[in-house]
Symmetry: D3
């Protein structure tokens, strides 16, 4: 069960409100790299967690932290919208900076939300929950979470570079820090479970007889004019220690597909039957 | 530039066509764990790749392989739809197994595609390209790719368990094998770049002064009735070697947010102004 | 069956075409507060109406009126796009106002529609029909309709504030007026059915034994640092007259959830089994 | 800032797990009538609340409660998936009830989530955040919230009718009860603000000179073969007390629209220029 | 401006209500091949029509007819839902045909709409307006319309084959007929404008100097193991009479792309810079 | 099976990078008129092709060509993003042209992709695969393909008009040319199959007794104030040679719909029962 404290997890200060930055900042709320995504992803993973309880607890506690991130970012967006232009008056249209803001801000910040945050990204696309990745496999889920946090820290770093508002920089430096920890945290689970050697291939419970092992460790080239790019993945021991990497030239092993004629009841053209 | 050979990368054989399995199999084509996703994800990452050329090449070659996976899976779906029931005739309605198939198959396999594969998942939702993760940061992208392949191998394993058609099991064992390699391949890039120690935190180019380092290495508890779940992430050296893990009880560090009164031109209720 | 008259329901005049305003105006066509939504919502409610015929008739007649609103708004968008810049010529790029328009207009007004209205909102997101709320319960539907019209009138008021084009202001004042009536109209149905006392709780046909009545009339606090915000909802008679409002401190009444181990056939990691 | 207690807000018990009911139950999590929607809607309304603080507090506290509803419903879905069929073995295919379940369950409960809840509705469509209605106008928002709770209670009542599992009926009776309160709660705000008379038309801050008042209080007929359906909305005082209802036969007041010829640079056919 | 007559354009009779057929039938309402799509597509094309008025009139009149198709199909869905099972009672679960229907029907027909039509397709996906194709080019639009009607008649033919309900067959035979006319109607515009010779290439107003004519009339082979499939498109006069068809072996004419190093402010990994 | 050559199908040169043009150009990648759409549409049509093999081959070869178009357009977008502004520094905000670019570019080109192409359109909406039209009917599919190429050439022509960058104009002139061929190519299939006379009505395999032929060849008027717009479609032989065109005044042929009372178990209001 969830509870709430009226104060924010971190302080939000906006020295120079900027409605265009408000639009950009939305990416951290409703973007695929944003906080709604991780809050919901960790929540659904926690609700579906099977196996050692501590992973469930960890997921739920961090899901809860992410909800608090939505909250302070939402406040930051609203503060950036203070003073946003809401009219296309004649002289405004003649001031090119105002014109640029009128064109550059998210119109729905004026029209739909009344100058506050929305669950959308920086181009106004609403977040959709298909981005909540939760497979029931802890290895896959930890990678998904580390991915989300890597994307999140990339985004926060770019937002940091974008603004020169001291308050916003301060808040973003906190986000950058928490994303550092969260990346570590999910990858630490993989370490704890034995690292790549034990965890890979995911799922590690798939019986070997379900796998065509002769195809499991070669890099398949598909280039007509280049060889395989060489690296850790073309030779040497595989990360899971089960085999060795090699290279194989891709070539068709299957048939030319054919579906024959169309069925009479399938509303094809008669020439297809 | 792309080219094509008429034969499939792998042979497809369906011994007992099953339209309900066709519906399930769609998850491997148009699901977020499916082949359209990885083909397009690697393609867009390749097109945006900056830095060492070999990663671009690797991405493009595997993108090309994944296109071939779409192709043979598409053929598998079509073969499973041979003989799918396309009528609700009276006696059919009385045969409960036929009734179950009529209810259980994807109606659009009859109505929209004329008995062939569609770019949708197992519940008929079309794939949408927001799931193509490509950040321009090779660390984030490699994790995203390993995630996608982990999800893919989990899915292929579940499909393998679901069917008892020998042809389908054979094809899926190939997919399981290639997903093994692809997981390895992307994580091997991280190894090559120095492993977690060098790669984390992602992006590793964010200047330390952009990060509130005092918040970067503690697990933040948010539970009212439980302590931090202990593990690799609560004590000991951080994975990037920059610091040590610790635990900190979550508590509000910010203000209670307040937006004050509504603007007269914002169409709020007058009681809000 | 529907019919059409070539003239618009209301006159549309645009004195100073403005492609950025055209983008904003799209919210009234394809936004969730827009006319496609209400036209389709009332149509589907009418088609599913059970019970007294007059409500079906009312819904269908107003659905028909809303179709006419789409039509004149579509004309308004097209007229605002007259003269929209369709080239990035060098000198244009140097004129900051032209640059602002090129950046600020909806690119698809140039690229996709050829300077006319689209069924999208002000950030270009196509309307999707999941926003057609029609439950088959007349109480729920009337509230949904009043909500839609409230959002519509908020939007029209904001658009009115945004423009200083006399023609557009005139058209919007008509929309504001019709939204006034439509708000009234749907809430008047609730009045006619006996007001809150008779209509609530929706559905009023749910047998009392299906409801854990001891949980039906208290405000549940979930704040750790604040009491319940006091008001009409914390004490006094409930709006349906069935009970009295009270306040209760939220606390867990359920178990700590546990799903145990993962199934062997579920492709979890072996550590979860 | 948010916090969490490991126990559920309400107890969840499933006597006879039913994967088809699990699919239906998803509507209460990820449907437009479901808990993610209200949790997020109240959260975003709270974050954008301007005016009296107590409404912000109320919204935030109930948002927090709704998060807890997601949590116990998620557990209920997982418990209903215990024992869900994950294989299409030959004899299974011959048992029509198993066949019906294999066709009738959500395939992604097997393939994607590993037997746990997902943020999707009963047909597997992921929740998308465009359904978070938050206008910044408290009147519009309270109606939107009452609508959401009306839809929620309609849904919970239907789910109650659908199952005969005693544990599920008990849990749903709690949901029905809380939806009763939440309907009351939001409408009580409208009462407190003075009822329809004071609150309507929403927004009540739109200056009268922005409204073509002569069109504000008539029911507009658009039927060719029927008169206006008579009721509270065709005569008598308007709900806001500002005017009287009347009826007016719809007829075109505008021009026949004409856009003239296409621009040469607009890639129309030459016959259009 | 639109008007309405209470009677349907065509009679709807359902002899044996079938909730699974109701689900299939939804494809004709909210599918991409369905009536909402064509109604809205023709409406938006009409609203954006430039050039000869008669095409605008034709579009608007047929848009209006399609609205009437939505209406009678909506009634057909509702009639098919009469008697749909809304409970999972124990004995029902033992009757495999009822079980099949419970699994096979659209759950939202029970849970969300209360036994009536929804603006969704046969797998429950809501129609989204991105499928409204309206380019402002009459040639492109007429092809889009003929495509929509071809898809519509394919669908109606498949639905006809699927049912053995005499009433439904009668209604579908009317739809099949109207789709015949509508296909003709849009292609007749192309005939009237001079046929392929005059209309192609679309847009026919693109100046020849904007086109790299040397690439305009060859079939580009991309197969590694097959020649060009020969036909009307590999030799002989082009359909527009401007040139002759030929075949050319596809080969790269461009550079190997390279983006160089990443920018320091772009949050790439430092190894990319 | 697919293969790849490292060089692009066509050379890409950008003389003056322009991030706003990059945003516009995205329409040709991820728009409904763009290259992902046609690549995937032809691929799925090929995979489902039944009947003469040569059409399958043709579809697959052109699908492969379109993949190459995605690739060079993706490079063009990345090159246009060179030098895109990634900061809102104080003096930048004072330069109105920079301000216009900051507002006018796609924020996700900075925040999400790190200055490279994305699978989205010009307003940032990700491509969704519901736009892959593949019916299994070759007539319907060829029309869909001609439509896609008509839309594509309209788009390319508009982009050509929009830019004055010589490199971009050159690349677009190649696209315009290939779209010319592809339009021809798909329509040439219809010619080869016998033209409209043989191909229409689509599907031409629907038995005449499934069609209410008395409704198949009249233009149905629905205007209250205008006659049928006269043209090729109102009189003379039908395009399929089966009948003659005529005009008929639309009028209701069906009943007034009625659904009666609501079911007690349907959670309607009691007044509806």
């Amino acid at each position: 069960m969830f509870f709430h404290d009226s104060r924010l997890q971190y302080e939000v200060r906006v020295d120079n409100p900027n409605p265009v930055f408000a639009k950009y900042l939305q990416q951290a709320i409703g973007g695929v790299e944003g906080e709604i995504r991780v809050a919901m992803q960790y929540l659904f993973q926690a609700m579906g967690a099977r196996g050692p309880v501590k992973y469930r607890d960890m997921l739920m506690q961090t899901a809860t932290e992410e909800l608090s991130h939505i909250e302070f970012l939402g406040h930051a967006v609203a503060l950036n919208l203070e003073g946003a232009p809401a009219s296309m008056q004649e002289d405004a249209a003649k001031d090119p900076v105002v014109a640029a803001i009128l064109g550059g801000q998210n119109p729905r910040h004026i029209l739909s939300s009344g100058l506050s945050a929305m669950p959308v990204n920086s181009v106004g696309t609403p977040f959709d929950m298909s981005h909540v990745y939760a497979t029931g496999n802890i290895g896959a889920d930890m990678l998904a979470n580390a991915t989300a946090e890597a994307g999140g820290r990339v985004l926060a770093s770019r937002l940091y570079n974008l603004t020169d508002d001291a308050g916003m920089k301060d808040m973003l430096s906190f986000l950058i820090a928490r994303d550092t920890m969260h990346q570590q945290q999910w990858l630490a689970v993989i370490e704890e479970l034995g690292g790549y050697k034990a965890v890979l291939p995911i799922p590690n419970s798939t019986p070997q007889e379900h796998e065509a092992m002769e195809h499991s460790y070669y890099f398949c080239t598909t280039s007509l004019d280049k060889d395989a790019p060489e690296g850790r993945w073309t030779s040497g021991k595989s990360l899971d220690g089960r085999s060795k990497f090699s290279v194989r030239k891709g070539e068709p092993m299957g048939q030319e597909p054919s579906l024959g004629k169309a069925r009479p009841d399938s509303a094809a053209q008669s020439e297809q039957m």
